[in-house]
């Protein structure tokens, strides 16, 4: 594996004990890019970010510059930073928020100027009070310095930043649900169309929603320029990418890497392989929503957005969950489906009813009360949420949460049919995993 520079995690590695402070941030070149952005036009900034190739890091991997260019002309416009990070397996934004909040704030200033925003919100999941406190302190420092508030950096540009805590709902990570939540409504996703945030977002006004990691990249794009930034990455996947590695690996953690390495390199070289000399059984390549990969087919696949998509899965938020050969896949699937059922907002029928039904059937199978028809039933219920079980899904739902629950079903029925049937025929889990 080639050597890779760290970019957005550099300050925290170099200066672990104070990378969150204004002093350290400024001592390491902080807020210079924000000042630079103050002197740039919206067009210049949008163009720069477009040409940097920066893709959103919240999961959908959509071009950040493109999204900005869609901002409708109505004003005021708003910027919302998505720090709701709740996809099982994902914990990278938590580190960025805790360890380098000024980097994100500088990104916010740049994104705000680019999108003519004077009111920005950082929506942090409620279960992250420590990251929120760190961000709030950094925001306070920035206000004190005149980098936020009225007339920032001595210009006549006002920028207010408000940290908003969530209340415990994964679905609020979905950008339109997040906007509803921020409006004081239930966190139910809105319909797209017509409610694309860049056109009709917060308070029905043009709104840019960007992930924490996405905006944390912005100072580096301004610093290095589009070409140099691109070169950090691999082909279409520009810049570096934070992988959250967890599950059955020797060295779980967040790793800032370029794309283009293989899964084998990530799991075995970076993650140190499977503990206890056990075998790799399968892994989730991009958060709980993603269909799983198995060693036989995918271990030497390059990690890129395209290659993962062609293999009928996705990189999503960069969460890689590794499962060894002691794992009961029915139980693993049940746990993931349970998550989506629990987190379904409940507004659309297939997700509200279908995910819960799937969870119940899986639990029955795991506990030994599976029926022969249940194998097909799992597939048919899934088919009602995601017609034809295609990738990307042909959703019958409003948002992708419902179809996410189908991913583990597709995975276990495709790669582990025998194991599922063994549960049904043997009246319980053949691995002796308790189903608590």
């Amino acid at each position: 594996m080639k050597a890779h520079p760290s970019v957005i995690t550099k300050r925290m590695s170099d200066h672990p004990t104070d990378s969150n402070t204004m002093d350290r941030y400024e001592a390491t070149g902080g807020y210079v890019q924000a000042k630079k952005a103050m002197g740039m036009t919206r067009d210049e900034l949008v163009e720069l970010v477009k040409s940097s190739g920066l893709l959103g890091r919240g999961g959908a991997a959509f071009s950040a510059g493109m999204k900005w260019s869609f901002l409708a002309p109505a004003r005021p416009s708003y910027l919302v930073i998505n720090g709701d990070e709740s996809e099982p397996g994902t914990f990278k934004d938590r580190q960025l928020l805790e360890r380098d909040p000024h980097q994100m704030i500088e990104g916010i200033i740049i994104a705000a100027v680019a999108n003519e925003v004077h009111d920005a919100f950082v929506y942090i999941r409620g279960e992250y009070p420590k990251p929120a406190r760190r961000v709030q302190r950094a925001v306070d420092e920035a206000y004190a310095k005149g980098y936020l508030g009225k007339g920032i950096f001595g210009t006549d540009y006002d920028l207010e930043v408000t940290v908003h805590l969530g209340g415990g709902a994964y679905i609020c990570g979905e950008e339109t649900a997040l906007i509803n939540s921020l409006e004081g409504l239930r966190g139910e996703p809105r319909l797209k169309p017509p409610y694309f945030p860049a056109a009709k977002g917060l308070y029905m006004l043009p709104t840019i929603v960007n992930n924490v990691e996405t905006v944390s990249n912005l100072p580096h794009i301004l610093e290095r320029g589009a070409d140099e930034y691109k070169a950090l990455g691999h082909d279409l996947d520009t810049g570096t990418f934070l992988f959250s590695l967890s599950g059955h690996v020797e060295r779980p953690g967040n790793y800032e890497l370029p794309h283009g390495i293989t899964w084998r390199e990530l799991i075995f070289d970076v993650g140190g392989g499977i503990p206890g000399g056990r075998e790799l059984k399968c892994w989730i390549p991009g958060g709980a929503s993603a269909p799983w990969f198995v060693p036989d087919e995918h271990l030497d696949l390059e990690i890129t957005k395209d290659a993962t998509g062609k293999a009928l899965s996705m990189l999503g938020s960069g969460a890689v969950v590794v499962m060894d050969d002691t794992t009961c896949v029915v139980k693993a699937a049940e746990r993931i489906v349970r998550f989506f059922s629990h987190e379904s907002c409940g507004q659309c029928t297939p997700c509200r009813e279908g995910t819960t039904w799937l969870e119940m059937v899986l639990r029955r199978i795991e506990s030994g009360s599976g029926r022969t028809v249940d194998f097909d039933l799992l597939i048919e219920i899934s088919d009602g949420i995601s017609i034809g079980l295609d990738w990307p899904p042909k959703m019958t739902t409003i948002c992708p949460l419902g179809p996410s629950a189908v991913s583990p079903i597709i995975s276990i029925t495709k790669y582990f049919k025998d194991e599922v049937l063994a549960h049904i025929e043997g009246g319980g889990c053949p691995m002796g995993v308790d189903h608590g």
Partner: protein, 205 residues
């Protein structure tokens, strides 16, 4: 006429002023209501409704959508055990069972003296330090069932005024998702997130 304390009312005003529309403050204000009453009461929801100009039913619709607005009596210490996929793979269920067993409090319930509430929760973003637990949303990573039992006993005995993540991690945790590096003396004062703008923090930096 609010039944909230002067300082809570002052905070409510400041929070509302941060948002272009009052209703946006409903979530922060629900935390204020929890801090006032220990959990989200009917009076609390009515009060929040008055502050932001919506009906109590609308406040309830919001409060009940989220998992953190506890509408039932909740212990001083809320122990949330993650049993989502990454934690489950590394023994999260065992941690939950140990906590339930040691405390005598099953998932979703509170002990009779109102000290401990126990729940299992979905992913809390600590997968790299699995299995993980939060007490009043302050995190401990890398637990074992034995350490989880110790945690329960310690909470019962020490009854800390402020729940500090670093202290608990030191006492009961091991592997973390990433290097925490920066220690912190601020923590939680009840079963709601400790966040300065909401006046819910204890301890000092």
């Amino acid at each position: 006429m609010s039944y909230w304390s002067e300082s809570t009312q002052q905070r409510a005003k400041e929070i509302i002023a941060r948002y272009p529309k009052k209703r946006s403050a409903v979530m922060p204000l629900l935390y204020l209501a929890m801090a006032e009453d220990g959990h989200v009461t009917e009076e609390g929801m009515e009060e929040v409704g008055r502050w932001v100009g919506i009906s109590p039913a609308q406040v309830q619709a919001v409060a009940s959508f989220y998992t953190m607005y506890k509408r039932e009596r909740t212990g001083r210490y809320l122990i949330s055990c993650c049993t989502s996929i990454s934690c489950m793979l590394l023994g999260g269920d065992d941690i939950l069972h140990a906590v339930e067993d040691e405390s005598g409090v099953p998932h979703g319930e509170t002990d009779p003296d109102g000290l401990l509430s126990v729940e299992h929760v979905e992913c809390i973003g600590a997968c790299g330090g699995a299995p993980a637990v939060q007490v009043d949303y302050e995190l401990i990573e890398g637990l074992t069932p034995e350490k989880a039992r110790e945690l329960v006993r310690w909470l019962r005995k020490a009854r800390p005024d402020t729940v500090l993540s670093d202290e608990m991690q030191e006492l009961f945790g091991s592997r973390t998702s990433f290097d925490w590096a920066i220690s912190e003396g601020v923590g939680a004062t009840g079963p709601y997130p400790a966040f300065e703008p909401y006046g819910t923090t204890g301890g000092d930096e």
